[in-house]
Structures are given as structure tokens and as C-alpha cells.
Symmetry: C4
Subunit: 260 residues, 4 copies
């Protein structure tokens, strides 16, 4: 997948999840302000289970795709004499998908049964992100300077996500952590797009000099701009949701009170 599409695709997934999380957490925190509503709580459980199921389906498709595309490994790991690894890239991507699949499965189990405590879902998501980071880290040694640097920046979105998830195991329902994780997902997503545009310019265009130090300085700065953008999107999303919900609540609150 060392091409433009191969970076845009995962990028789009992370952007989708980032957007979805910024909506979900907005609604969650807005719904908590008035008296604790166990009805709403149940609804969020359903939402989490559906999210887990979506993750499982997407990653399953991803694994099958990576394995059985025409030039994929078709489940062969090594081949030939002397033995050589078959399509290690596809295997690495399959491994990443596998951990997000486990994370999805744990989401479902955590919220549909009492087997696991709340927090296990965040922990497993942290582990999936950690595996992603670990594989990327040893993915790019031996490459040109800018290529390494642009992937290091990716790790700077991934590892804070891991840290956030692990803190969330112990600190539940913290609005700041929730929005930060949504924000980092957006950042990771848009940064995947950026990597695609820098390393594999889609419309021809001038090639980037991968060993120019001023390019490295620009990329570092560009990463900060993406972060600012991710913050902006999350903030706007939250404000819009807040406005909409307050409108709805003003209309519905009397009904809810009556219902009780």
C-alpha cells in the first residue's frame, strides 16, 4: 500500500471515527448535565455496542482485503528456497487490523455483558493503537530523512492516544480526555492524508526533496497546523451539538417530566 490510496484510506477511517467520537462525546457530556438519566445511559450502551460491531466488520473486511487482493499474500507467510517472507507489508496491516478487531470485540463484550469492567474497552483500544505505533516505528528505519520524520510525526499522534486511553482506564467520564482522544483521531486521519500528498503526490506536481532540512522544518510546523485544525473541528462540533441539544431539551423536557 505504499501509494497515495494506501494512506488516504486509513486516513479517512480515522477522520470518520474522529468526527463520530466528537459527536458521541458531545452528546454524552451534554446529556449528563441535567439529572442522571438512566434511560439515556442505556442508549449510550447500545451506541457503544454498535460502534464495536462496526469496528469488527470494517477490520474483518480490511484483513480479508489485505490477504486476498490479487497481489496479496493469500495467507502464505514465507515461500521459496531460500525462504523469503511473502508481502510483509500486507501482513503488518493485517496485524494492525487484527488488534482493532479485538478492540471492537472487547467493546461489544464490555457493554453487552457484565463480564468485564468499564475501562476494559479503553484499555484494549490503547493496546490496538500501541501495536499500530510499534509496527510503524520499525516500518520506516532505513528510509530517507523526511520519510522517517513524517512517520515520526504520525507516532506523535498515536502514542498520546495510547496514553489517553490508559488514563481513561482509571479516570472515567472526563470530558477533556474524551475530546482529546477524538481530536487525536482526527489529527491522525488528516496526517495520513498529508503523508500521502507528500510522499506520493497524486497529481504529479513537483517532487519533495526528502533530504532537505527546510522541508523537515516545514513538516513539523505543518503537523502543528493539523493539530490546530483538529482542535477547531472538535470545538465547532461540540458547540453545534450543544446548541441543537439545548433547543431539543427545551421542547422535550416538559414531556419527559410528564412521562415520569
Amino acid at each position: 500500500m505504499a501509494n497515495f490510496k494506501g494512506h488516504v484510506l486509513p486516513g479517512s477511517f480515522f477522520i470518520l471515527f474522529g468526527l463520530w467520537w466528537s459527536v458521541k462525546y458531545s452528546l454524552k457530556h451534554i446529556s449528563r448535565t441535567p439529572k442522571k438519566n438512566s434511560h439515556v445511559q442505556t442508549n449510550f450502551k447500545h451506541v457503544e455496542i454498535i460502534e464495536g460491531a462496526v469496528k469488527v466488520v470494517f477490520t474483518l473486511v480490511g484483513i480479508l482485503g489485505e490477504q486476498f487482493v490479487p497481489d496479496g499474500p493469500h495467507l502464505y507467510l514465507y515461500r521459496g528456497q531460500p525462504r523469503s517472507w511473502v508481502k510483509l507489508m500486507n501482513w503488518q496491516h493485517s496485524t494492525m487490523y487484527l488488534f482493532f478487531l479485538i478492540s471492537g470485540a472487547v467493546d461489544i463484550i464490555t457493554y453487552s455483558t457484565t463480564l468485564m469492567p468499564v475501562g476494559m474497552d479503553r484499555f484494549m483500544l490503547g493496546m490496538a493503537l500501541y501495536v499500530e505505533g510499534l509496527l510503524f516505528q520499525y516500518h520506516v528505519s532505513l528510509r530517507p530523512m523526511l520519510d522517517q520524520h513524517i512517520h515520526t510525526m504520525l507516532l506523535m499522534a498515536i502514542y498520546p492516544s495510547v496514553a489517553t486511553c490508559i488514563i481513561q482506564v482509571f479516570v472515567h467520564e472526563n470530558m477533556i480526555l474524551d475530546f482529546f482522544s477524538a481530536c487525536l483521531a482526527l489529527l491522525q486521519g488528516t496526517w495520513f492524508w498529508q503523508i500521502g500528498f507528500v510522499l506520493y503526490p497524486p497529481w504529479g506536481g513537483p517532487e519533495w526533496d526528502l533530504n532537505d532540512h527546510s522541508n523537515l522544518m516545514f513538516i513539523t510546523m505543518c503537523f502543528c497546523w493539523h493539530f490546530a485544525l483538529a482542535i477547531l473541528i472538535t470545538a465547532v462540533n461540540y458547540t453545534l451539538n450543544k446548541r441543537t441539544c439545548e433547543g431539543i431539551q427545551e421542547t422535550l423536557l416538559p414531556l419527559v417530566v410528564v412521562q415520569r
Copy 2:
């Protein structure tokens, strides 16, 4: 801004904020000792909002200055054939200002509305400092040893500030953390001055040998002295405020009691 003035200016800002914070936190913690006074709490809210507004104004001026000084980039990012980046330094400084601007805006929103929980202001300040650190880190690779080292020391003031801010998201109203953050701002400020004096001696004077190991050892030690000075200033400031406030309280306490 690779000159004496370019280091003295940001240094002075950090010193100003450090001094201001050491006063603010002194008053905050002194005012908390007698019964919780909601009137005082409101006043601190106003103070935080004003602080945020000052940050927004200063950084806005900073961004415009960096962009539109005679030899600035005037919002051009690249230029020429083959394309080359225009004044990356100014763009980097603009980016740093941008995040402190966001931090100022979040301060205002946190304390003037109920949209965000307390702690969001500290979190965003932490992010702004982190971005500053990140940009400095890749700023100075490829420079002479002492130049790199003296900027590494700067990071040793910045990253602990980031850590302090992130802990403050979870631990509110901790006097030790508050004073430490004031202290680190002072340290960062005076260290900027030190960098200016070492790399761009303002009154001529003997040049520093940037590759001499004993200079490196001196600079490390010098950083510790700046830290000791920052601790001293914070401590003196706190003691003076304490004295003054106790004087005032002795005079005003009867009045306050009567008023109730």
C-alpha cells in the same frame, strides 16, 4: 529573529507572565485560607478572563508582526521556481503564537461560560507549550554543539511545564503545582535572555567557542542557577503578598463580618 532582540522579547514576555502568575497564585492561595469566599472566587474568574484576553491580544500582535515586518513572509508560504519556503522561521513563530492565542481563547471561554470544565484552560496551555517545545526541538538539529545544548536546556524548562499543566487538569488548586508553573515560566524567560547573551553578545565582547566542552558544562550549571533564581523570586513574591494580605485582612476582616 536569530539575533539578540529576538530572544530578549519572548524572554521578557515569559518573565512578565511568570511574575504575574506568582502574584496571582499567591493571592489565590492566601484568599482560600479563611472561609471560602464566593465573592473572591468570582473576582478570580474575572482575572482569568482578563489574562486570557491579554494573551489573545499579545499573540495576535505577535502573529501580525511576524508576518508583516518588512522582511517577513507577508502570508506567502512558498515561492519561486523551483519552489522554496518563504521565511520558515517567521512561520514557525507565528505557529507558536497561534497556539498561545488558542490557549488564551480557551481561558476566556472556560471562565466566562459553562461550556468547558475547569482544567480545559490548563490543558490547552499545556498543548501550546508542547507545540513550542516540539518546534524548538527540530529547530536546532544541525547546529553547533553549544547552540543545540543551550536550546536543549530550554526544552528542560518547557517540557516540565507541559507535564505540570497536564497534571493540573486532574489536580486542581494544588499550591505546589501552581507555584512550580510560575517558576518554570520565569526560568524559561530568563533562559531566553541567557541564550541571547551567549549566542548574540549584544555589546560585542568575546565570542563563545560553540564547540568547547567546558562551555557546555558551564551552561548546564548556569541553567541550574537560573532555576534557583526563579525559585527565589517566586518565594519572595509569595512572602511579600502574604505579609501585605495579612495586613489588609486584619484591617478589613471586621468590616466583612459586619457586612454579612
Copy 3:
């Protein structure tokens, strides 16, 4: 012990302890769900003391074995003229065993007396694992790339274990941390086996090229698979125990109630 057996033996111990912990913690957390049963609590104390005693015996045997095998150092540390170290490897392994011995002794003291607070056992286990990691870290510098990398992966199982133990000093009875530590023990165990198979193929077979970058990429990925396996084993173990216990409880609960 730089041979296949020398890696399989410690690996088996860690697998055994990993399996045992996943059973122990399953039972512990299942037994806690119904009303707090002080009778069960006492039993767990006995279990911890026995576990400590087993550790002490195993590690004592280990130390004696390392020292007094025919080609061991027989307690000589240096020898000859000029002086040279005698069998440093065996001494290093003895040192590792020593700390796990101390950890076992602390387990016994923590749970059989009131001298030490609960948490001291976890702390000492963390220290033992840290010493293991520290010794491994300086064990392998100067070796070929893949050899270093495969041992770095080992550290990636050891250091998170250390971190988990230290968190457990402050956060007791957290199901997620308990299972994670069991999981990491399993991971460390199976990874020891993997190291044995890669560096000292037991049945001849093709040698691994220790400087091939694609081997390094495979090993990183393989480590993730071991982690997935460890998660699976822990999860299955827990589910089986849950099922069994619920069966027993349904049968025994009336009896327990009567007994009171």
C-alpha cells in the same frame, strides 16, 4: 545458557506463572462479586503465601543450579592473572533469581504478618522485573541487529510489567491491571520460546539471517501475534473459570446461606 534449552526453561516458568495468575485473578474477581466473604479472603491470603513459597524454592534451586552445574562458577567471581570474570552469564542469572527470591519472601511476609502493607508484594515484584530488564538491556549490546531487536522486544514485555506492578502499589484490586500482568507474563514466556527458536533452531533447519531488515520487520509483527495469543489465553481462561464458578455457586450458595 546461550542455547535453546536456556531460553525454553525460563520461558516455561513465565508461561506457568502467567497461566496460574490468570486463574488466580479470575477466581479472585469472580469471588468478589457477591457480598464480601471474609472466608474467601482468608483463603486467598493462604494462596498468596503458597505462591511466595513456591517462588522462593524455585529461585533457590535456580541459583544453586546456575552456580554448581559442572561448568558453573562455583561461587568464584574472578580468577587468574590478569584477573578475569568467571562465567558472568551464570552470575547474571543468579542475580535475576535472587531478586525473584526476595520478591517471593516479601510475598510471604506481606500476607502472613502485618509488618508490611498490601502493595509491598507488587512493588517488590516490580523491582525484580526491573532488575531482569536492566540486566537484559546491557546483556546484548554489541550483538547482531536481529539478536538485539529480539531482546528489545523482550524488554517491551518486561518494562510494561514493571509499570503495571508499580501502578498496582497504588491501585489495588483493579481487574484490568491484574489480567494485564498475567497476560504480560504469558507474553514474556512465549517470547522466550520464540527467541530460542530463532537464535538456536532446535532441529537444525535454515539459519536466520541476523542482519536482514525484513526479518526484523517480521519479528516485530510476530511479537504482536504473541501478544494477541496471550490476550486470547487469558480471556478464555477467565471465561471458563466464570462458567465453572457460577455452576458451583448455584449449587453451593444455599449451603453457605444455611451455614450462617
Copy 4:
């Protein structure tokens, strides 16, 4: 002070403090078990103040000694044409002493006034240790391998001390942390002695080959032995104190009860 005595002297101080802390914390935690005794609490306050005063005196003597020994810098920082630093080593040691002096002063202020919250003393001790670590870190670059490694091991005693102190700012009265900090002081002390014996063998004896890898492996292991020794001393100290106190309490408890 690059000689045997220069390492044995600070080593002895750390050993003394380590022993004293292991006694102090033993008594503190033993005295807390029976009903909270405010009389005992006051006594501990006095003890802390005395400890702070001792620190201040010792470090003041240290600073004056480093400056005014016959071959000291006598407060001159640079000299000559071209300018060169005067006795940077002595200045560095003075700086280390300075921070422990500040730490001692903060101890006194924390426990004798209500200016600062409890925890400030631990925080300042952490800063003093951090400064010590920072100065040692840049002390030894450019030296032979074993020299660097043996000082790196020193940092492995110092930085965990810093971490422990910072955790103690938030977690008071934790027996495990208290004993760990005593233990690390002992470790640092005995390790200073070890450095003296390795780099400056006092009774002649065979020189160490500073570039032999097996020496590096031995030193790493030796550090672990020092750690085990420090744990043993702390444990024995605690047990002895416990025994003694229980004997005294059995004799005195009736009297105390009567007194009330």
C-alpha cells in the same frame, strides 16, 4: 574531587541519610498504628526541622569547602586572556550543595510555619536530586565507556529518587514510598563508594580496563547487588525498630493511658 576521597565523602553522606531515613520512617509508621497521637506528630515535626537544619549546615560547609580549599576557585568564575572557566568541577559541586541547602531551608519552613503545604519539602528535595542528576549527566560525556556506564548507574539511583519525591507530593504517608526513598539514598551512597573503588583504586591494586565489555556487564550486575543490600539494610532496620518499639509500648502504654 576526581579522586577516591571525592567519591567516598558524598557517598558517606548519602549512606548516613539513608540509614537515618530508614529509622525515621520506621518510627513514623510504627507510631501511627495505635490511635493517632498528636503528641507524637508534634515530635516528628521537630525531627523534620532538625533534619532540615542539619542539611543547611552540612551543605553550607560543603559550599565554603569547595570554594576556599587551597586549589579552589575562591568565588572566581573565569579568569585569564582568553577567558577560561576556573575550576568548573568545584562550581558544579557548589551548585549541587546549593540546591540541597534550599531543600533543607524549605524543610524548616514547611514544618515550622504554615506558609507552605506539606509536600513542598518532598518537592524541593526532588528538585535538588534532579539538579544533581542533570549535572552528573553532562559531567561524563566524552569519558571512557566504563566511566560513563558507572555514572549512568548512579543516575539510575538518582532519577527514581526524583520520581519518588514527586509522587510523594501527592501521596502522603505511603510506607512503601518512604522506605523506597530511604533505600535509594543508601544505594546512591554505596554506589559512590563503588565508583571510588573502581575508578580510583585506593590501595593501588590492578587497574580496571575501562573499555572491556565484560567489566560493563559486571558493573551492571554489581549495581543490582548494591540495590539488594540497600533493601536488606532497610528491612533489618525496620524490623529491629518494630521489635524495640513494641517492647517499649508494652511497658509504657499503661502509663500513657493513666496520664490521660
